[in-house]
């Protein structure tokens, strides 16, 4: 089955991004395809490559990036939401790309399920 994912919150303050990451990992493990993870609202902060968590904490920015590379998951950061919040090519983490909000509608149409994680 084909999944689309929407992440509305950044890493650390809310659990949304953690939950989305575990959901996506589990779906892939079960043989499903995750077509795209769309990062909206504060979710764009998941793509800040300057993020440096403590050594004993998880590093969601890197974990998302790895997932993208290993399983060909399209990680899209909403350009309008990102500009407001200061996420641009300059500080964009590996594995993410910046694009328009239409890519959310698009994955909603193309995927069998869209699952939203937020606050």
């Amino acid at each position: 089955m084909k999944f689309g994912i929407l992440v509305n919150e950044g890493p650390f303050t809310h659990q949304a991004s953690d939950s989305a990451y575990h959901f996506v990992s589990a779906a892939i493990e079960k043989g499903h395809q995750v077509m795209r993870v769309f990062f909206y609202y504060d979710g764009v902060n998941n793509a800040n490559k300057l993020s440096a968590p403590q050594a004993d904490d998880r590093d969601l920015v890197k974990l998302w990036g790895k997932l993208a590379t290993q399983h060909n998951v399209d990680l899209v950061v909403c350009i309008a939401a990102a500009l407001r919040r200061g996420i641009v090519e300059e500080n964009l983490a590996d594995g993410f790309r910046i694009s328009g909000l239409g890519q959310l509608t698009e994955v909603g149409i193309a995927a069998d399920r869209l699952v939203v994680f937020g606050d």
Partner: protein, 100 residues
């Protein structure tokens, strides 16, 4: 359709709204702080028990464990699932409505 609730029933109205606006028979998955609704002997236990007659209720095990809640703390009839079980529920029940 499957509903997810990720907010504490003590702090917010998300579970109430989900119950008011979901049709009979549609399953509800509790995750993140929403798992607090699944515990026995609280001020919201009666409400959750009443909801169980209309909805199958599931709760995410990893979120229970993080909050120090064991299977023995969970109300009867609520099914504990892991992230894989969450995926299976979404596959099975179609559209997901997240009560954020």
């Amino acid at each position: 359709m499957i509903h997810t609730v990720n907010k504490s029933p003590f702090e917010r109205n998300s579970l109430d709204s989900c119950l008011r606006l979901s049709i009979k028979g549609s399953p509800i998955l509790l995750l993140e702080d929403g798992v607090l609704a699944a515990t026995k002997g609280t001020s919201v236990s009666e409400k959750v028990a009443a909801a169980q007659s209309d909805h199958p209720i599931f709760v995410l095990g990893p979120d229970l464990q993080a909050r120090g809640l064991a299977e023995g703390d969970i109300a009867e009839g609520i099914t504990v699932v892991d992230y894989g079980g969450f995926v299976d529920l979404v596959v099975e029940h179609g559209t997901v409505q997240s009560w954020l």
